[in-house]
Symmetry: C2
Subunit: 490 residues, 2 copies
Amino acid sequence: MAQKNTTREEDYSKWYNELVYRADLAEHSDVRGCMIIKPYGYAIWEKMKDLLDQRFKETGHSNAYFPLFIPKSYLSKEASHVEGFAKECAVVTHYRLKNAEDGSGVIVDPDAKLEEELIVRPTSETIIWNSYRNWIQSYRDLPILINQWANVVRWEMRTRLFLRTAEFLWQEGHTAHATKQEAIEEAEKMLDVYAEFAENCMAMPVIKGKKSESERFAGAEETYCIEAMMQDGKALQAGTSHFLGQNFAKAFDVKFADKEGKLEYVWATSWGVSTRLMGALIMTHSDDEGLVLPPILAPIQVVGVPIYRNEDELKAIDSKMARLAKELKELGITFKYDNDDNRRPGWKFAEYECKGVPIRLAMGPRDLEEGKVELARRDTKTKESKDFDGIAHYISALLVEIQNNLFVKAKTFGINNTRSVEHYDIFKKEIEKGGFIKAHWDGTKETEAKIKEETQATIRCIALDEPEEEGRCMVTGNPSPRRAIFAKAY
Amino acid sequence: MAQKNTTREEDYSKWYNELVYRADLAEHSDVRGCMIIKPYGYAIWEKMKDLLDQRFKETGHSNAYFPLFIPKSYLSKEASHVEGFAKECAVVTHYRLKNAEDGSGVIVDPDAKLEEELIVRPTSETIIWNSYRNWIQSYRDLPILINQWANVVRWEMRTRLFLRTAEFLWQEGHTAHATKQEAIEEAEKMLDVYAEFAENCMAMPVIKGKKSESERFAGAEETYCIEAMMQDGKALQAGTSHFLGQNFAKAFDVKFADKEGKLEYVWATSWGVSTRLMGALIMTHSDDEGLVLPPILAPIQVVGVPIYRNEDELKAIDSKMARLAKELKELGITFKYDNDDNRRPGWKFAEYECKGVPIRLAMGPRDLEEGKVELARRDTKTKESKDFDGIAHYISALLVEIQNNLFVKAKTFGINNTRSVEHYDIFKKEIEKGGFIKAHWDGTKETEAKIKEETQATIRCIALDEPEEEGRCMVTGNPSPRRAIFAKAY
């Protein structure tokens, strides 16, 4: 607590990096670009994982597991895929070590060179579609609706905890369909699942949209995405869902016999979210004091801290809190009672504030006398004295209110930082202020590249609910049917 | 169904391999030694995972995640560890591919060679203890009770689905303690957790024991294990829990200040179970017709199959089954009603038998008339006609009975195939019959190696509950304080 924490105002990026450490969420490992997700951070990720997994199963998907390694030649089979993924990846070339003859340790055994190098998966389309070839013969075998929870590796040069790491955890859905229409519906359905999860569980408002051609996933015909606005006004792509057309089916020769017995290529989708969502969660809600967590994802939803001068007082508070713990458990609320005698209440207050615990209860001798408890909200930093009797039900309702409040606050922030711009000159100034800018664009790669080069802003998406509006591209003056959303992005 | 399945009697090993495919649990991938866990197999693994995870949390452990890659030099830090694990492993030497100049695809970019090679983790002691050094300063930081769910890679030359694969899924617990006593207690506690899970969830009886010195984990001072007997009489090591002493703390210089401020090395344990448990589960209960699953781990606990001659009959059965589905759901029982019109009832019966669904219900026109349903048990292959009313509660109780029956059956098999032997000549004959043999052994590596070489049998463990019994080693005649358990093993 001695050292002052960097505020968002002072240095947003530094504030984020410090917070990930302070709240004990993750840390850098000695292995370049690989992070260690610490227990508190992992507990939040586990909650996200469970809530997502539940949604995948409710929409008919099953989990499976495919190999970590992909033969190098597989990557080359889909032309644009190899362009996107073969560049920066971990390559396994040998399968054995041996003792160095000089006794200095172990060295790679040159005799144990693989015939074909293996790539640590950066994504699994190729290895999965290579399997689907054997799984799919007829329309009766379709659809295949599979998801995988896995680690993947992309050899990123500049890494940031959760936001961009060489190894990260994610889920990747890979589905196979008999018709184009069904595959597109699947890609859209999973985008809806992501958006609903982001908004209802993470309390993070998102815009659902389509990527421009140059921002598409390598191998996709259409990439849908959810984009969220961070507190510094930058965009963060929080999830993507791809309609892959027949590209992977063609690359891996996956055909099915339709009802008439005619052979057709299979239609595909893939969709994924990753530990990057942890970064999004942190940057959407947290403040200068620490993490702010939506109750649905908080590993500890309520913490109780006793304030006492002697053993008798502590005992009396302990017994009250034990009763409350039981009541909260029955309501499905996670409660931690921290009566550790080694730490002062002030230290504990700061600690749980930093960890983003939504509700803190403190009980001292006077509260005890008066049948009260002090309740502090992490989101609004307000405190109130409440009757201890009936507090469990009050807390239950308050957790819902906090969840909603965080969403509304973030939603309002997003609205206040989204504006329409007509002229490129103004765009250049406005984009420096952060936030999302809705502007007309002529739909060409060239214009998109020019804007990116001159302003560092990218087209985040064309929002699905963006109304048609005849306009002129702010750069070229050419016609545009609707606005795109521009922002600087993580 | 056309091809006859291999029976256990004919060829146990072939029966197993076929069954894994027939029941759609897993398959070999094109990547040497790596398996694909298919949705039905993964659903069983997920149940195991959830039940184990719950037990780890109840005993105070948290999950975390450490990097996939381990710098080569880390492996060398603990002398016996490197001997055990550095041999066959996947080595990452490069971090980039590039397009071949002749346009033939992608090749490894020689300019992207790593300064230090990275090993795909075969187990994570080294990278985790390298982190613990920074996490532990004082006794207040202890104990650390962490578990990780992860994939690991050991470059096995001979692989078998689930039993021995190059990549497998597992959990690895890694704990740090202030005292030797506490670390030993932790290792023993987790062995108990494994044994309880194996017996109560997998219905698989196990013997808890200690490994002989030569069978210990590389880097451990004591390796505890649970050993199960498969139906062919071979042993399968189903889980291990290691007391690591201060070996890793010394290798990675992890010290803590005790209450008096004195610096001490930290005490360690590690413990793990893997997808190998899937192999153990299959081989403990299944029969020539297919999988037999204990109800607790069955993805489908009850299946309903309608038998009908016309639409009206189907509708009537559908409506009865819909009511039952609701009742079973309320009881927490997983029910699948299969009224797919493309498949005949006989096909369905064989299919769910193969998949090991514990209870099958069939309802035909006469059952409908009489208010009956035909109930078939997978474990005993018995059928009975039951009143449809009240069947849900009957099923609920029957699932418990099936779970118990499977355990008792396996337990009886284990008892019937365990015997004591006094003379090495007899041992050599007896060991060929399969099963566990309890015999006196002089405690030396030499005798153990001789027995292994001459009979292929290994010491599975010295059972924790083995009574002291003065005896003479069956090979050397030297004194022995208690019997060890010998068997051929997977």
